[in-house]
C-alpha cells in the first residue's frame, strides 16, 4: 500500500499537469501574437518566456488543430538550414480568440489571487 506522502505528491503532480494542459492552447496562440514563428521557435518561446515546458510531440498536432479551427494559418518558407520551415501566424479569428482567452485568464487569475491572499499574509 502506498504511503500517504507519496499519494499526496502524485495528486499534486497530476493537478500541475492538468493546469499546464489547460494553458497550452492559450500559450501557443500568445506566442504568435508578435508575428509568425515556426514550430521549434514556438517551443523555444514557451521554454524561455514561461515555465510551461511541454513535450515536443505535443506542439505540432496542437498547431495542426489550431490551423484546422482556422485560428492560425501557415506558410512554407525556405531557410538557410537547407530545408523549408512551416511558419504559423494568427488569423483574425485567432487574434480574437487570444483576446477572449486572455480576458478570461486575467479575471480567473485575479479571483484566485484574492482567494490565495491569506497565504501570503502567513496565516
Amino acid at each position: 500500500m502506498k504511503d500517504r506522502g507519496a499519494t499526496d505528491q502524485e495528486l499534486a503532480d497530476k493537478w500541475e499537469v492538468q493546469l499546464r494542459k489547460g494553458c497550452l492552447e492559450l500559450a501557443i496562440l500568445v506566442a504568435l501574437w508578435d508575428g509568425k514563428l515556426y514550430g521549434l521557435e514556438i517551443l523555444r518561446r514557451l521554454e524561455s518566456d514561461s515555465d510551461l515546458i511541454v513535450s515536443e510531440g505535443t506542439v505540432y498536432p496542437l498547431l495542426s488543430r489550431l490551423k484546422a479551427l482556422e485560428l492560425v494559418r501557415s506558410e512554407w518558407v525556405e531557410s538557410d538550414a537547407g530545408h523549408p520551415r512551416k511558419y504559423y501566424a494568427l488569423t483574425p479569428a485567432g487574434k480574437q480568440r487570444v483576446r477572449e482567452m486572455a480576458g478570461m485568464w486575467t479575471r480567473f487569475s485575479s479571483s484566485m489571487s484574492k482567494l490565495l491572499a491569506p497565504l501570503s499574509r502567513g496565516r
Binding site: 521549434l40 513535450s55 510531440g57 505540432y60 537547407g82 530545408h83
Partner: protein, 206 residues
C-alpha cells in the same frame, strides 16, 4: 549540415512509421506533417552541434513514439474538423477513424450511430405518415412475453390488430422536432466526448 547515412535512416524509419499510421489521411497533409517534423528533427540535431547516433536518438525520443504522435494528429485534426463543421457525416467519418484508435472512440461511435439512427427513423416516420396514415407511427404492441413494447414503424407492412397508435397525427411534429433534436443532441454529445478525450490526452513534460 551533412547528416550521416545511419542518422538519415533512423529519421526515415521514424517518419515512415508515422506515415503508415496516418494512412487514409489526405496525402498532401501527410507530406506536410512529415516535412515539418523532418525540419524540426534536423534543426534540433543542428542545434546540438555534432551529429551522432545518440543525438539523433535523443531528438527522436523527445518527439515521442511515432505512432502515438500520429494518433495525436489524427484525433486533433479529425476532431477539430468535425467540431468546426458540425456535419453528422463528417463527425461519423472522424469517429470511425477515432474508433480504430481507441476503445473510447469505439464507444462514442457506437452511441453516435444509435443516436443518429433513432433521429433519422423519427424523421422518416413523420415524413411517411401522410403516405401510410394507418400504419406509420409510434405503436404500442403486445410483446412476445406479454409485456407491451414500443415500435416506431415506417408504415410498410401491416400492424398487429392489438397494436395501438400512440400519437396519431401528432407523430408528424413530434417526429420532425424530436428527430432533429436527437440528431443535434447526438452531434453535441459526440463533439463534447471528443473534446474531453482530446484534453485528457495532451501530455505535458516537467
Amino acid at each position: 549540415m551533412a547528416i550521416p547515412e545511419n542518422a538519415e535512416q533512423k529519421i526515415d524509419l521514424y517518419l515512415s512509421k508515422l506515415r503508415r499510421r496516418l494512412a487514409g489521411v489526405n496525402p498532401q497533409i501527410i507530406r506536410e506533417i512529415a516535412d515539418e517534423l523532418r525540419g524540426h528533427i534536423l534543426d534540433k540535431i543542428a542545434a546540438a552541434g555534432e551529429v551522432t547516433p545518440a543525438a539523433v536518438d535523443a531528438t527522436l525520443a523527445r518527439l515521442g513514439d511515432p505512432e502515438a504522435l500520429a494518433d495525436e494528429y489524427l484525433t486533433d485534426n479529425l476532431l477539430a474538423r468535425a467540431t468546426a463543421s458540425r456535419s453528422p457525416l463528417r463527425i461519423l467519418h472522424s469517429l470511425l477513424r477515432w474508433a480504430s484508435l481507441s476503445l473510447a472512440g469505439f464507444l462514442v461511435l457506437t452511441a453516435s450511430v444509435m443516436g443518429y439512427f433513432l433521429g433519422i427513423v423519427f424523421v422518416l416516420v413523420a415524413v411517411l405518415r401522410p403516405f401510410h396514415p394507418q400504419t406509420a407511427g409510434l405503436w404500442l404492441l403486445p410483446g412476445t412475453a406479454g409485456d407491451p413494447e414500443f415500435s416506431l414503424r415506417l408504415g410498410f407492412g401491416t400492424v398487429p390488430a392489438a397494436g395501438r397508435d400512440l400519437l396519431g397525427w401528432w407523430i408528424i411534429p413530434v417526429g420532425l422536432i424530436g428527430g432533429c433534436g436527437v440528431v443535434t443532441l447526438t452531434t453535441r454529445l459526440a463533439i463534447a466526448c471528443a473534446q474531453r478525450y482530446r484534453r485528457s490526452r495532451v501530455p505535458a513534460r516537467g
